[in-house]
Symmetry: C2
């Protein structure tokens, strides 16, 4: 099934079930209002949502409406943990994790606002999973069993931010999907599909997420569980998906610049500017968009703040 | 007012109002069930809790019961953000922040369980604040206005943990308090009281939190807000409270070891062992415990896991 969170003026939004083709949606009212609730009590709530999902996919849901990604917040707009790996590091991927901000995750079509272009604004197309509870010390195999939903992320990064500053929040594609939605493309902790990244309308990357994921999601979760219990609703991210083969393009400007530095001694591609746009999408083996698209504009938060002030009486 | 979260089998617990002397408590039922709700909608909910608090303090609350810190979870058991500063760094304190785990914060009397004694188990007695919403780019003064509640923390750290591992969750004293509870001791972003730390029943520190806090809480919050909006319910921690004057003792073993290394060329104090206990408390100017005490035992999670397995049929 596919789940999304509709904007309703609240901080957590309203849970909706979305049809496989992303055409129709239905509020999950009566089952659950927020995605965190579902993750807290997955075994009880998920089957009820699955039933609604089937009814919706068969075109038989009574109060279905047209799905509009622009109304979406991140599937889990504020999570209690977002641990970000580096599973595609050029050294083969390491089971290391960093803590990323999780308290104000951006919806797929929300503008990404930054203080200054001089901070080195960069995108980062990645995959992530939402977990159930994972006991401290779990094996990678057991950890893999805890994967509840797959996500597509754009991990915004300010590459020139001095240490001791908190990186901005990531954005997420409109829908979170259960593993069965990926079909054969999900194989033991890896998603064997390509992430298509477009920068200002130009395709800059179609990186394969499967073969070069040095450590799979079960291993990343187990790494997180080495020193602590991983709580239900934790987001574990792969880090930017990238491939050894430069012809596949890139998933972040930092990766592109690293390649350029290797090839010609210095990085050439500049970071993003206000007014730029970024689109990330994953097509399933059926050719349909698996998660819906992340489609964001980069903007100055100063302008937004000034507009808000002007609007005040 | 003083607020705590009682264990009720749920992940977020049940909000209770606690009397100033920590003797009595009262469920906040009918006003709010979880502390995050209160922080999400502070201006509407806090006055109602304040009213209940007054009734309780006057001994007139109908369903009051004896307050038992052992029934407490952390005031906010799972937060969306915990940003940890280093406000007492020996270099005078820097406005730098790191992200700490916030998804499974420990109650005041919960055992702290770790995988191995070889990880360098260390405590860290610190202060923290719970904020309301803070706009990106806020000044330190504006940020200070967003402080809703004060907390007392024990920031567990594994000093030998290799990079790329996530540090364990901190523990918090039973009650979160509004600024007025600290009276004159709260002065422009600093709490002028001592943190008393006892290790295995022996007093090892009574560090003054006020004068040597290099950057105050408003500055720490403003630092967090430099690159992003700070969301309601964010915890901003001071980092371990320590003083230049070694005679005040220490708030973490790492600090003690650093002093020893300076004085004699090598650290002498060993890190904690399973079976050790740790108690942190702050007395107000009235001599009463301001937050209640953190009172934890250090234990092996292996033993706990083995006991759970044995208990299974």
């Amino acid at each position: 099934m596919k789940l999304a969170t509709y904007r309703d003026g609240s901080r957590d939004g309203q849970l909706v079930v979305v049809s496989r083709d992303l055409a129709q949606a239905h509020y999950a009212t009566g089952i659950a209002t927020r995605l965190q609730q579902v993750l807290d009590d997955w075994n009880f709530i998920a089957p009820q949502l699955q039933e609604l999902s089937q009814t919706l996919n068969h075109g038989k849901a009574r109060h279905a409406f047209s799905f509009d990604p622009k109304q979406c917040m991140a599937p889990l707009p504020r999570a209690h943990a977002y641990l970000l790996g580096a599973a595609y590091a050029r050294e083969g991927g390491a089971a290391t994790l960093g803590q990323a901000a999780s308290d104000g995750l951006l919806g797929p079509c929300e503008a990404a606002r930054f203080a200054s272009e001089s901070l080195g604004i960069d995108f980062g197309a990645g995959l992530a999973v939402l977990t159930g509870d994972v006991a401290m010390g779990s094996t990678a195999e057991a950890a893999l069993e805890s994967v509840r939903l797959l996500l597509l992320s754009n991990d915004w990064a300010l590459r020139s931010l001095p240490p001791g500053h908190v990186q901005p929040c990531a954005a997420f594609a409109p829908v979170a999907v259960t593993l069965d939605e990926a079909g054969e493309a999900w194989q033991r902790g890896r998603l064997h599909l390509g992430l298509q990244t477009m920068w200002n309308g130009r395709k800059v990357g179609l990186c394969e997420a499967g073969p070069e994921m040095g450590v799979h999601f079960g291993e990343l979760i187990a790494q997180a569980a080495k020193t602590r219990k991983v709580q239900a609703g934790s987001i574990i991210g792969s880090g930017t998906v990238c491939n050894q083969d430069g012809s596949k393009g890139y998933g972040s400007i930092a990766d592109k610049r690293a390649l350029e530095a290797l090839e010609s001694g210095e990085p050439k591609t500049e970071f993003m500017q206000f007014g730029d746009s970024l689109r990330v999408e994953v097509k399933g083996r059926d050719g349909l968009s698996l998660f819906g698209a992340i489609d964001q504009d980069v903007a100055s938060w100063h302008e937004a703040a000034a507009a808000r002030e002007e609007a005040q009486p």
